[in-house]
């Protein structure tokens, strides 16, 4: 009897702890909804990025959107639509210029992207520091998930719904384009179309995440669950699903932890994703421990 009542109280408290912050505060609910939406749409895109060996691409892009954001900021102040549109345009321009350079000079795509994004980053930082305070810059780079308002939430939800739907419609083409591009091109389909579509979705997701996580942290929610999902499964649909689930878990756990500990929410979410990654590295079927188990002789 004692045990039962103790267990009951304990469960009740756990439930309280796990849900109370969201029940109590509207900003926590909005933060949760926003990060969950981002988790669902950006982590699967991250899986596709890793498959194309473009894992660092998101990182480069997250810096590259800065001058567009800066110009939006200078012209319209801290207005979300202006910052987002500016960021989106800058991201798309950087991708287009980088592709153009690599096609016409023979520089590898990552080299031309690296040079263009570094230029964009310097330009963006300069523009912002000449026209605003350091705090503004920090806000743009790191976001503030607890400051998401209704408009911001709608933007995030809209972008993630759009990118999930478009991703589902173009799924087969996206898959074929990264698995066997010459086969796709030989069939007469324009392979470049799928690549552009895909990169546009990546830019959109990074930009959408900027008020919630900031562009820099958004890449973490995109890539960490994606990389660890690849350790779990042999087929793409399972990897995509797994990455979205891990990202959602990280988003929820991160928000909760940051609420109780007072730590900044963005980095806490990413560190929760990192914890999932470390766990996956150890126990996932393609992680370290099962490998040791299967090939004990390789331990030396």
């Amino acid at each position: 009897m004692m045990l039962w009542s103790w267990l009951d109280t304990w469960l009740h408290t756990a439930q309280q702890l796990a849900w109370a912050p969201f029940a109590e505060f509207a900003f926590m609910r909005r933060a949760l909804a926003g990060t969950l939406a981002l988790a669902l749409s950006s982590a699967p895109l991250g899986v596709l990025l890793t498959l194309r060996r473009m894992s660092l691409f998101g990182d480069a892009l997250s810096h590259a959107v800065l001058p567009g954001v800066a110009i939006g900021f200078i012209l319209f102040g801290l207005s979300l639509p202006a910052l987002s549109i500016g960021g989106f345009l800058a991201g798309v321009t950087v991708v287009a210029v980088a592709t153009r350079i690599s096609r016409s000079t023979g520089l590898k795509e990552d080299a031309s992207l690296a040079s263009i994004y570094l230029i964009a980053l310097a330009l963006g930082v300069m523009l912002i520091s000449m026209n605003g305070s350091k705090l503004d810059l920090l806000h743009i780079l790191f976001g503030n998930v607890l400051g998401v308002d209704r408009g911001g939430l709608l933007l995030v939800a809209g972008v993630s719904s759009f990118s999930l739907m478009l991703g589902a419609l173009a799924y087969r083409g996206l898959l074929l384009e990264s698995f066997d591009p010459s086969y796709l091109a030989a069939s007469g389909a324009r392979g470049g179309l799928f690549q552009h579509l895909f990169l546009m979705l990546v830019v959109m997701n990074l930009v959408a995440s900027f008020q919630t996580l900031g562009t820099l942290m958004a890449v973490g929610l995109m890539m960490l669950p994606a990389v660890s999902a690849r350790l779990w499964h042999d087929t793409l649909p399972a990897q995509l699903l797994n990455s979205a689930v891990q990202a959602a878990l990280a988003a929820y756990a991160g928000l909760l932890l940051s609420y109780y500990s007072g730590a900044p929410s963005g980095p806490t979410i990413i560190l929760c994703a990192a914890a999932c990654y470390l766990a996956s590295l150890l126990i996932a079927p393609r992680g370290c421990l099962p490998r040791l188990w299967r090939h004990p002789c390789r331990r030396a």
């Binding site: 498959l51 023979g106 083409g173 066997d180 010459s182 086969y183 796709l184 499964h233 087929t235 793409l236």
Partner: protein, 247 residues
């Protein structure tokens, strides 16, 4: 014979470096043609020019079949063999031409893919990820994908590279089956004996067209000698690039 693909004075260059110059010729319907030549002779470029995968600098390629009815087997190096896809799904990609991004796969199609896997000797491999296959098994899967595609024209880029002898024999039997079904097949190959025995037509390249026609004529000693000279001239005395010719 009705021409399926015709090349008129086709030249291709990569970064101003000529890869293929002034190639003209006709691939007839139901022909079985081997494309031969030293390394860097433009064999793969030949197929890619036909498919429009590389821009043609001058000349033109005429194709008299719908694009959907052309199947292409890229070199294995161009395919990501670590990609998380099952053998059956990979074979089903052969329906891409018919279904595009949106069309639904029906059960008859899945059965067709399973039949194709049986035909290439990979029964029971349906659920395996392609990452677990050997090079020979992977090539069998790609042949199954071509079977599923049911194309009139089949272009194969080095189908027997890094493939064991038994797989080569099995795949060669499939190619001869396609020929018997009146399909047009073009394959980039290296083994002259094999070509002499199974391929009635041949194209010999050394950045330019050396010869195109019946295999016995194309593989005459004089032509092979000429191809070697042209390759040597083009690559500044890299004579060991085609050892089988030196013999």
């Amino acid at each position: 014979m009705k021409p399926v693909i015709a090349l008129h004075d086709v030249s291709v260059a990569y970064r101003r470096q000529a890869a293929l110059q002034h190639v003209s010729g006709v691939l007839a319907q139901a022909s079985l043609t081997a494309v031969l030549g030293p390394n860097g002779a433009g064999k793969s470029t030949f197929l890619k020019a036909v498919l429009g995968l590389v821009p043609v600098d001058s000349g033109r390629v005429e194709i008299h079949v719908p694009r959907k009815l052309i199947a292409y087997l890229p070199q294995q190096a161009e395919i990501d063999r670590g990609f998380p896809i099952s053998v059956l799904d990979c074979v089903c990609l052969g329906y891409w031409q018919r279904l595009g991004s949106l069309g639904g796969l029906n059960s008859a199609m899945t059965e067709g893919a399973q039949d194709a896997l049986r035909a290439v000797g990979l029964q029971g491999f349906e659920r395996r990820p392609i990452g677990s296959l050997s090079a020979g098994q992977m090539q069998r899967v790609l042949f199954a994908r071509i079977l599923v595609q049911d194309a009139d024209v089949i272009l194969l880029d080095e189908p027997f590279n890094a493939v064991d002898a038994r797989t080569t024999d099995d795949l060669l039997a499939l190619i001869r089956g396609w020929h018997a079904q009146q399909r047009t097949v073009v394959a980039v190959l290296h083994d002259h004996e094999q070509v002499r025995r199974y391929f009635p037509q041949a194209v010999l390249l050394a950045r330019q067209l050396v010869a195109w026609g019946d295999t016995a004529d194309v593989l005459a000693a004089a032509n092979l000698q000429r191809a070697r000279h042209m390759a040597d001239a083009g690559s500044a005395g890299n004579g060991d690039r085609w050892p089988e010719l030196a013999a």
